[in-house]
Symmetry: C2
Subunit: 394 residues, 2 copies
């Protein structure tokens, strides 16, 4: 018997090799990959935008309500931030979880450093930012958002990466913008800038120069010119709703760098049925565009010629499209029930739209604004493509 | 004997599978990959920018003097255009040539359609553009650049992709800009715009709105606003060298969309030791920045805060850096002998610089402007990273 085992032992490495071989998925590029969050089931779908198909489903990511995603600089890995403070690293090629830490009690997203070596989370509870090694998810820096004399900590919002492995973010409870330099992560250096009341989200322009924070506590926005930080924070569009009754806010709008088009920023007016248009640099109000309802995402098509807008409840089945050349609405349509998010392909020929209550992702041609196809998804929310890895401020 | 062969036939699929297994390289993302042209040997190196290393060398690409590269929308394949008219498709993951056609007598580059399905070559001889299926390299459209009554054909320069699967290019011999719509490749539709004398290269702004062609035959540049094509071509910076003796031109400068920073275009003055700065939209001349020699590439760091410039012979060992906030030179240094090209990493933390006569690629940190490392390469010229796949106008 032993004789037989020894005789056929050469089979062991062959079987191991064959198994390894059988489990390695085929080679493929990662430039057309992405993630769709399925919030109800705590799963994500790995999708590809060339053939417009779903490749795999990954589970075990915890609470994915309000989840967001950033990508490794090689486009292979997604870092998924869950509302429960979980940070999960997903290999898009094998569709497996390769790392997971529960790093806070309540987290709302993150960013990757310019050099790709750090993943940074912005946390509500305990308030602050934490930096992790992008390979191992080992904690390398913990920067609490302390303020006042009693060491209270603020919720952190509006985190974005900046050139030089720096990160910028806002303190909702402390009316402050902070910039933390993590080029030496063991020795973070933080600068503080007093800002307007209750910043709730923010954007960095694609060049990393201007940081604009939306304010919940006052009419107007806070702007910091990072090429002239000594000038401090300016208030822009002050009192844009002055003298008018504030509407109840059904859903906080989102601000991100993709709302910059044709040298202007297109901003959701909080609690109002308007998109505000401001010229970068001069900060003059260019236009107020009346829209159907309270805007949530205001996103420029990658060529900047159009801005697509979705809305808060009860009008969250609608999308509207603004022509940035005329600043007029050019289309209104209903892609499905409960439109939570949209993501343009890198060159903008198509847009993927999540319709939560229809359990589908609808894919539209951006030129004809006709639906190309749709994919089933369980209560889809955020959609994120790997091309984000190449952009500053995401 | 036959008995033995039949008995061990089960080994055949095992051996085939093992070979396939052994030859499949490990899975990896493609977002940090790129190509370095080794012009003297007709080879390319596949490189990666995370660990800053060379992964493989690929030969058999023909004449690679003045070669340029574009990428498939998934980032896996490089399309290499050789001066001899060869179009070679290289798989970056396996480092193998997977397709090659000799499609013209003399070609100077190409572009990929917005939807990623077409690769288009711009040709000197015979003058025109040709579109190929991005998967198979099958010819799907041939659009000659005919002009005049006798069916002469012009050299084509300054090709760039536009939204809507359109392509824009200039006719050196016909003083014209043309836009060809290839959304139905079997039925190309071309529009013609009379332009200045002898356009020699061009750029599209990153949003795809403005096309600017440099002119060899007159002082000034030709600009077409693609959001208002009915207005036709305008001359901008007319007579920028007026009243001064033209210098002999040692090397034609290059124009590409990466010269746009902070709402302005930074343009090499042909035959002059100057970089011209013009405001987009108003087309006012903002500055003329004196530089060491005749500029060749004028490239914005991805954050737009700096513009890096290399030069024609005899000063082609120098680089200069312009601060776009002050429009002043902030650095001059010599990375090596015969600097032919430079390419920034997608988020701009590093720049790769080819030094042909030192047979090396030098990699610099863009913040400290100190050299990080260098890689050997045989007479390197162009350097191209896969992040180009996500940008319009490349």
């Amino acid at each position: 018997m032993l004789h037989l085992i020894v005789k056929y032992m050469w089979w062991i490495p062959v079987v191991v090799l064959l198994s390894a071989c059988a489990t390695q998925p085929p080679l493929r590029g990662t430039g057309d990959l992405g993630i769709v969050i399925e919030r109800a089931t705590g799963q994500v779908q790995v999708i590809e935008t060339s053939g417009r198909s779903s490749l795999a489903q990954v589970s075990g990511l915890g609470d994915l309500s309000h989840a967001s995603v950033v990508f490794s600089r090689d486009g292979r890995y997604a870092y998924v931030f869950g509302r429960d403070g979980g940070l999960t690293k997903v290999d898009l090629l094998t569709a497996r979880i390769v790392g997971r830490v529960v790093q806070a009690g309540n987290s709302i997203g993150g960013a990757v450093s310019q050099d790709g070596r750090l993943v940074v989370a912005q946390n509500y509870e305990p308030g602050g930012i934490k930096a992790f090694d992008a390979d191992t998810l080992e904690l390398v820096a913990d920067v609490p958002a302390e303020f006042g004399s009693e060491g209270k900590r603020s919720k952190v919002v509006g985190l974005a990466d900046l050139p030089g492995n720096r990160f910028i973010y806002s303190l909702f409870d402390a009316n402050e913008i902070r910039v933390t330099d993590l080029s030496d992560p063991r020795n973070p250096k933080t600068e503080r800038y007093p800002a307007g009341k209750q910043p709730y989200d923010a954007l960095v322009t694609p060049d990393g120069r201007y940081y604009i924070a939306g304010l919940f506590g006052e009419d107007g926005l806070s702007m910091l010119d990072l090429w002239q930080p000594g000038q401090g924070v300016h208030t822009i569009l002050p009192g844009y709703g002055r003298g008018e009754q504030a509407l109840p806010v059904y859903k906080m709008p989102h601000l991100r760098g993709w709302a910059v088009a044709a040298g202007r920023a297109y901003l959701p007016a909080i609690g109002r049925h308007e998109v505000l248009v401001v010229e970068l640099g001069s900060w003059k109000e260019v236009a107020r565009i009346p829209v159907k309802s309270q805007p949530v995402f205001v996103m420029a098509r990658p060529d900047g010629r159009e801005v697509w807008v979705n809305f808060a409840f009860p009008d969250n089945g609608w999308m509207q499209v603004i022509d940035t050349f005329t600043n007029r609405l050019v289309d209104s349509f209903q892609p499905g029930r409960a439109i939570l998010h949209l993501e343009f392909t890198p060159k903008g020929e198509a847009v993927w739209i999540s319709a939560r209550d229809d359990n589908k992702v609808a894919i539209y041609d951006t030129r004809s604004r006709q639906k190309i196809t749709e994919l089933p998804a369980a209560s889809p929310s955020g959609i994120f493509f790997t091309s984000r890895a190449f952009r500053t401020g995401f």
